[in-house]
Amino acid sequence: MKSLLLAVLAAYLIAAIHSILAFINKRRSVQRVAEWCIAAGFILHTTALIADWGIDGHYPLFSLRETLSFLAWALVAAYGLILYRYHTHALGVFIMPLISFLTFAAMLIKSGPQAPAAFSTTWLFPIHTTLLIFAYAAFFIVFMASVMYLLLERELKLKTFGAIFHRLPSLSTVNQLATTSAVCGLTLLTLGIATGMIWSSNRDGRIWHNDPKEIFAVLTWLLYFLLLIYRSSADWRGRNAAWLGVAGFALVLCTFFGTRLLGGYHVFGVHILNQLF
């Protein structure tokens, strides 16, 4: 298993290096190498996840190690879709190193405890976590697109026309990317929260535990809902919406690490630090 993940990491690292090189000297051939590596890494990663599932006997999204690996996989999937749809290669410069880092971290961390039976028997729990992981990935894309928007907009307003001007995709593209990702993220988050509530009510009859993770999740939901309302109504196009996209991500991070810092209902099992859901 380790060796497979090592191959995945190698593919992602090569992709990251080539994405950065392609960004710097704008060579299509270099970019192509990056894309092939991403594809190879993704296939290997998928295999690794399925193998994990088969060997461990539970859905490979429970311990911190599994979560990081799954998040990396979700980000690769999202980036692949974006490359296909928007051709925004510049995103790779930021996202591929992060993916490599997540994969690396997943390799370093020891396997967590086995999931209690309550989690492996129900099908609702894996759906809940999967939806939320993809929501996080989507919000990360919103964050990255917003940062790119702000950088390019600054460049255009200051008329400096440096490296960023020549290398980032157009304002309209990043704006659209941020909006689409926000819509996807919010939908996934809504569904994720809903499945969580159903699962929890099945388990102990309560849908709300006043737990920090739940509170942050609802705040995040509100913020992105606001963001989308603003984006669709005219006045908050552009810079302000981009700032909101950046700020929203801080809240996402709080949600993601919320349990770790504050404890609460979403801590399952003994190893508090190893649990995120």
Binding site: K157, K159, H166, S172, T173, G238, R239
Partner: protein, 422 residues
Amino acid sequence: MSIVLVGVNHKTAPIEVRELLAFSDEACTDGLRRLVDGEIVREGLIVSTCNRVEILSATTSEQLEFGTERITEFLDTRRHLPQGFLNQHIYSHRDEEAVRHLFRVASSLDSMVVGEPQVLGQVRHAYSLAVEAGTAGRVLNRLVHHTFRVAKRVRTETGIAANAVSISYMAVELGKKIFDSLKGHTILLIGAGEMAELSARHLLNAGASRLLITNRTEESAKRLASEFGGTAAPFEELEKTLADADIVICSTGSPTFVVTEEMVRKSRERRRNRPMCLIDISVPRNIDPNAGNVPNVFVFDIDDLESVISSNIREREREAERAELIVQSEVMQFQQSLRLMDAGPTIGALREKLQDVARTELQRQRKRLGPLTPDQEAAVEQLLMATVNKISHPVLNQMRRFYETSDTETMQELAESFDNED
């Protein structure tokens, strides 16, 4: 076969000389027919543009000197120029140098503005004229097609033509940086000037959907509108028109601001905050630079454009260095394929000759074989040919290899060693 290129370009000759030498299309085909005699000059092609007049030809290797002289003379006598007048302007390249020169010209590395796209079309046109005149043969066909391939490689593999290097084209580049695609976007032209018109033309070519034109004098707005297929808008309603425009190009002779910050603010409201790109190419400026403070509005004046252009030119020069490497490797490839093409006849002739020897021997000894059925007859001949081919194959291969490594002398020696028997 040798390739010779003789000509003048913008670096070696002033316009007065270039215009004397320039060829019209008819003059080009006529001239080619006169120049190519099938003896010394075997094939010919004339590239005549405002920046260069170049004659490319294929001659036999032995008469290379003579061929070059003839072409120079041809240029001299066309306009009855005094002997030697062209000497200081003219350059001539042979073989590898000539091939490299043509590759560089077609890839736009030798142009006044490096990376400009027209020159490839001009080379293509020159080739079609040569084909029409019937003076493009085996060598030039191959060379020109290889040239097209090199030019395409340079264009796709380097960023030599990636960034705008003219004011008029900057509008397209900025528009694309903001709106991604110009499709579905509206251009507003305020005032008229050569540069503004050129910008509008580029924007329309790049896919802009609608063009609005406004001018203090309504007639000129209408004239331009009919020329470009746009719509003329009354100048008094500029504020209203502004709200419809995504990209505004302003170039009027007005001494004051035509577009004020206030107008831009209002139109932004009406546009529901959609981004807007204002390009001011007039001096004194016609768009209040403070309009750039309005969110989602981007204002550029002529100095901003100039600064991007100079940075783009530097970028192109960097890319040109990479393009030179591509050209270098392609020149080598072409030289190799040309050598093989030359080797073809020599090797083919030798094989032919050896087979002839076998056939003659068969004729001489035929009687001694007695009567044979047609099948047997064919079998005997086949046997002889197969033996000859099998024996000569390693030698022919060796010759081919010598040719590929450009060791023509050894190849020639090998070929001649078969002649000694006579």
